[in-house]
Symmetry: D3
Subunit: 69 residues, 6 copies
């Protein structure tokens, strides 16, 4: 599958915290950088997300801001 989202970043699931409807997932990508995703609990179950699993972060370029000092 090819997706229009410009940011498709490979990593490994570090941990998953489920809330009542929304879960927070930490994905470790190259260089030890941690990306945090906020997704539905159903997604966590459907994708079988658990520490150690290979996954990608998918982010639309229009959702990325740039900051400079």
């Amino acid at each position: 599958m090819k997706i229009s989202g410009r940011n498709f970043i490979a990593g490994t699931i570090k941990d998953v915290h489920k809330g009542s409807t929304t879960a927070h997932v930490h994905l470790e990508i190259a260089g030890g950088v941690i990306i945090t995703a906020s997704i539905t609990n159903e997604s966590v179950d459907e994708l079988g997300l658990a520490p150690g699993k290979k996954a990608h972060a998918l982010i639309k370029s229009s959702d990325v801001m740039i900051a400079v000092d």
Copy 2:
């Protein structure tokens, strides 16, 4: 300044492509991963974005999807 966005990723501007109102910016982060941001031309000018400049990508966790094979 502290920001609620959970993803604040350090990198270096690789290149900037301006359109008529929207610009695409490529930021190289750790491990050579490239993050693409779609921001306004005014932002590019105001932040003085150019190749080689240190910058951060700022992404809300609710804008990050996770994909698995």
Copy 3:
């Protein structure tokens, strides 16, 4: 591939309008409903988007508002 985004809707590309950096794509889904996506020109080229091509719209549930009369 499985993706956390809850809305993965099958359709057919109706038309594509490229701007200087951003393109507008119309996707016809079931019942003749048209979904409009605003994506980068690179995405259009990379995915080979053209009228008649089968495609899916991918939308995070946190990006969907509900309106009632």
Copy 4:
């Protein structure tokens, strides 16, 4: 009222699942396609969302990705 969001899709509420602050709403649109929205519990109460109610999904075109096989 007219809204700039390009995707304004008519449907009927199928079900509503409230969490502690965030609710997941399933809206059935033409062709039996289900759209999932993640909105605040206050919105659910204020809009009186319940199964069978007519509603629209409102989605900005910049929040729609396209995927192809």
Copy 5:
């Protein structure tokens, strides 16, 4: 019409800048605060946006970050 988006802010259109596909709209709200919206050129035409026109900014709460010094 009632909309789930928690931020529905009244104001007056200050100016509109059209690009090739995307337009930037400045809306002046209470206290002289200027809100910038990036919407499609079709939206500008369809809504008849021009300086002096009354309008609202509609923003989902999940799209708002908070920053502190």
Copy 6:
């Protein structure tokens, strides 16, 4: 710090409601307008958000819709 997000609006925190993973924050800006943000509980703790604290709302222009009557 300078950020590409075009909407950086000063205000004062009115109240904070924490859910299991997601919190709703109300920020009062000029003219008594209330902006609602949906952010993670960690952000609330890390930024020390509490009623009376000075803060800014940060919103990307591509996340702002315009509505007219």
